[in-house]
Every structure is written in C-alpha cells, then in structure tokens.
Amino acid sequence: MIFAGIDIGSRGTKTVIMKDHEIIASTILDTGPESVKTAYGAMYATLQGTGLQLENVNYTVATGYGRVLVPFANENISEISCHARGINYYYPAVRTILDMGGQDCKAIRCDAEGHVTNFVMNDKCAGGTGRFLEMIADVLGLPLMEIGETALQSQNIIPFNTVCAVFAKSEAIAYLRQGVSRSDIMAGLNEAIAVRCLNLLKKVSIEKEFSITGGIAKNKGMVAKIKEKVGLEPLLAKDPQLIGAIGAALFACENFEGKESEDNGKVQYGYIDGSGEYFITIDLAKCDGCGQCIPVCPYTVFEVTREDGRKPKARVTESTRKRLSYICPGHAVCLKARRSNCRSVCTKDAINLSW
C-alpha cells in the first residue's frame, strides 16, 4: 500500500510518499502562484525515481494553507493535527511542539497518540516567521542558508526591542550603517524572536519533551537561541520541515484503513444547547446521493458531496451546522407548512431530525 502526504505551505510545498510506515521518497519545493500546478508538480517530482505513478498511490492527505486546492487528495487535514501526528512518528514522547513556518508560528500540545490537545498560533504578524528571516537576510545581504551560522558567531548581541518585520528592517539598516557586525544583528533578532516563541509556548505550557518543526528548525542560530530561552534541549527530527507532510501521510494510512466501515455508518450533524438537542442524522448506508433533499429545503441545509473521493453522499452544509435550531423549525413544523421536506422526499429514508 502506498500513501502520500502533501503539505502546501505558504512558502514551501513538502511531499512525502510512505510504504508500510516507511518514508520512501520526499521533496521540498517552492510553493508557486498556482496551487493546483504546484500540487501536481510536487507529486510528480516526488514519485520520480520510485517507479510509481500517481495512480499507484492508494490514499493522499493534503494539509497546509493550500490544502483545499489539491485535486488528487482524498482528504484535507489541518496542518496542526499533521504536525502533532508527524512528530509522534519520530518522538512519541514529545508533548510540546513549536512549529515555525513560512508565514506563521504555532505552539502545539499533543498526547501520546499524537492527537492535538491544545494550540495557539500567531498568523497576524510576520514576527517569528520565515518571511521575517527572509527579509532580514536580504537586508544583511546573506544567503538564507547562512543566517543560522552567522548568528552563532556573534560576540556582542545587539538588543532589538521589536519583532515587527518593518521596524526591525529599518533598525537593522541603521545598525549596519553604524558598522555593527551582521552576526551581532542576526543574533539580536533571533533573541527577540526566541522570546516571542517562549511566550507562545507558555500559553500552552511547556513540557520537558519538546520539539521544533517547520523550516526554521533548520536554522541553527535560531534553535540555539530558543534552547537558551526555553531552557530545554529540543528533539529535532531528521528533516523538521517535512513533519507536516509525514503527519499527513500517516493520516492517509490510518484513514484509508478505517474508510470502508465508515461508509456504512450514521453521521450526525448538529449540537446540544440549553433549549434541546438538534441533530440531523444521515444514514450513509441508505443514502444514495440522489440530491432530492437539496431543493425541497428552503434553508439549503443539505448538499451532496463526494467526500474523500468516495461515493456521493448527502451532508449538512458547514455554514448551517452550527445554527440548525435557528434556521430549521424541525421536521413536523416544516412538513405542515409546505407538505414536503427533506424527510418526506427521501425515498431511502436516510434522513432523520431529532427535533
């Protein structure tokens, strides 16, 4: 069985192919302007040399910012879940993860199975992200791959009191003009970012077994600073940038095995609140995806989708799931008002309303 995980991030696209829980191929490419093209390109590049074709991949999970635009993916899973699952593959003991990506930074807590228990993220500001480091590397005239080493050579750290990329850039230019060395500037910025990461980690609470993932985990200068501030030695994977894609491939493997039985189960959409229980139950074994329930509902609660590349089934739309009691008066009232509703038109008797 062949499984694939593709992590389309804001800056880089990571792809992993797995066979029997072993990574057989992986690539890291730049995310281009067209997500669909990027997805195909990354997948073909990864399959090259494995002797496999796209058709040989049994199940693919997409994650990351661009996950919705992967045409061949069977399922989408958030990158937070994938990072937690991916690090669990290498270090099952890890409970706290710092994921430093191209355009955001997250602190994640997970359990022994690699399930997310809590997380906080900063995606509002470029401080502490890859974009920030790219900008600074540009100002300092250093190749991105060298900034980590450069920072380690610092003799006299320059304190920066901002993590705003725009302010830091002008501050760095001013220091350069004053003749401050590039390594001292870089170390100062790394320190400012490390403090910020520490604050993010504190919000989810830090456990001894701690890991850093994402592209920035390859930056030795930054990792050293975070280690210094957090006071713990991070457990780093062989390629920390791939963790999200590995997690996705692992999910692909698990979810593929669990799929067949799920097809025959019942799915409940809804919630319980103070006024009662509001659940729409769809019996997937009975539903044939005919779509008759869609036009009869005046509130357009239903849709038919081909979820995860399987047979078409009726679902409750995402936008109505959390406010069912506000828009739908319930089976009996609805039927009285218009003589036909979702339940009455369903020839397979697959829909049930709890109120």
């Binding site: 302007p33 500001c125 974009r131 993590v163 990329a165 725009v166 003009r177």
Partner: protein, 260 residues
C-alpha cells in the same frame, strides 16, 4: 519671549520657534543616522542658535539623542498642548506618525485626560503607507489622490504590513485586476480601522483633529471622516504639532522658573 520646541521623531526631526505666542519659524529635517547632528541642522534651518537652549523643550521617541537640551517632556503632553493652541475646541486628537499612532483626549481645560497608542508594529502607521506606495510604484501624494476616485474597496484583512503587502499583490494580479484607486482605498481603510479601534478605546468626542505626517494624506483623512462620522480638523503643517506643544511648554516653564 522666544521659545523653541524640538520633536525628534523616528523619521523626521521637527523644530518650532515661538515668539510671543506666534510661530516665527519651523523646520523639518530627516533624522538620518546621526540624530544629534540632524537636530542641530533643524535648529539652524529654523534660524535659531543653540545658545537659546535654556528656553527649549525636547520631545519625541528620539529625545535621548538630544542631550544638549536639558528639558524634556512626554510626546502626549506636547501633542495635547500643541493641538489646543491650534484648535481650542478640540476634544480628541489623532496623531499619526511614521512608526506610531497616538490618540489623545483633552478635558475642558485642554489638559490631557486620556490617551492610547500603538507603537508595537508597523501596521496602521506612516511607514506602512510608505511601503504600500512603494509597492504600487507611485508617490504617496498620488496614492492619496487616486483613492478619492475609488468605486469600491477590497478588504485587506492582514494586520501585518508584510502580509498586507502580499495581499495587495494578489489584488493587483487578480483576473480581472482590482482597479488601483480601489486598492488605494482598501489600504487606507485598513489603516483607518486600526486608528478607529484606538479612538474607541478613549471614546470618540467632537471636535476631532488629525495631526502628524500621515494627516497630509487627503485620501486617508476623507475615509477617516467617513468612518468617524464627522469632519476633522487638520492643521496647515500637521507634522509640527508636537514640536509646537514643546515650545509652548518651554514658555510655561520659563515663566515658572523651571530650568531642568
């Protein structure tokens, strides 16, 4: 009596000379790398000599560089005094500088009642606008005029100046591309929404004045007026309000006999 106010901002150093409650000279000089030298240059441009330093008050973020001025005052107090001098009826004043936005509230006597400021990051500041103008390859003044022709506006959701830049690029390259005036208006709206949240923190009360270099941006001020729901007052030279306030305080101090 002649008094001087110096406002060392993050981008420019402003000097105002006040003679018997009349502005007799002012100058605006880029701060550059050597703040002290720039300040001296600004003083020279405003046709004053350093010997008058005993009647001088300094303010602004770069106040530490102005070691030759013994008297210093906080920027909020100076802004309050300066805006009261120009517009006695003002209750709320919005100062939009290069690296920070400060909203101050004045009481009936024209003294500082409350204030809120944002100086943590570039979002909603003059530097943000400068960067956007650079991105759209036009002078700031042109962007300001262009925004007045906007038919609608795209929502720029990013707070961060760096992310907003990519968002603007995506609007430029959309098919069909979003018209330039609309993008300019969208950029201004994003700045205004930041300012509005600061205003709401201290409470909006008429009359309202807008100061600082960003106030020169007619396009932005128009949008701000629309959002705030009332006309705002903009001084002729909005950049020098804090320096003016400092000069007024210098006069008060001289009368009270304060020299330090």
């Amino acid at each position: 009596m002649k008094t001087i106010g110096i406002d060392a901002g993050s981008l420019n150093i402003k000097v105002v000379v006040l003679d018997d409650n009349k502005i007799t000279g002012y100058s605006i000089v880029p701060a550059g790398d050597d703040g002290t030298a720039s300040a001296k240059q600004a003083l020279e441009n405003a046709l004053v000599l350093q010997g008058d330093a005993c009647k001088t008050v300094a303010t602004g973020i770069g106040v530490k560089l102005l070691t030759f001025v013994p008297q210093q005052k906080s920027i909020t107090t100076c802004l309050a005094r300066g805006v009261r001098f120009l517009f006695p009826s003002v209750k709320l004043s919005i100062d939009m500088g290069a690296e920070s936005t400060t909203v101050i509230k004045l009481n009936d006597k024209g003294r500082l009642a409350d204030w809120a400021n944002h100086d943590k990051c570039a979002s909603g500041t003059g530097l943000f606008l400068q960067q956007m103008a650079k991105l759209m390859a036009m002078p700031i003044a042109e962007m300001s005029h262009l925004s007045l022709k906007a038919q609608s506006r795209p929502e720029i959701t990013s707070t961060c100046a760096v992310f907003a830049e990519s968002e603007v690029i995506s609007y430029v390259h959309r098919m069909p591309p979003t018209p330039m005036p609309d993008i300019a208006a969208g950029i201004y709206y994003s700045v205004v929404s930041r300012v509005m949240s600061l205003c709401k923190r201290v409470g909006i009360e008429k009359d309202i004045a807008v100061t600082g270099g960003v106030a020169l941006n007619t396009g932005l001020v128009t949008i701000l007026e629309k959002e705030i729901g009332t006309k705002v007052m903009v001084p002729e030279v909005p950049q020098i309000v804090a320096a003016l306030g400092a000069a007024i305080i210098a006069g008060e101090n001289a009368q009270k006999g304060i020299t330090q």
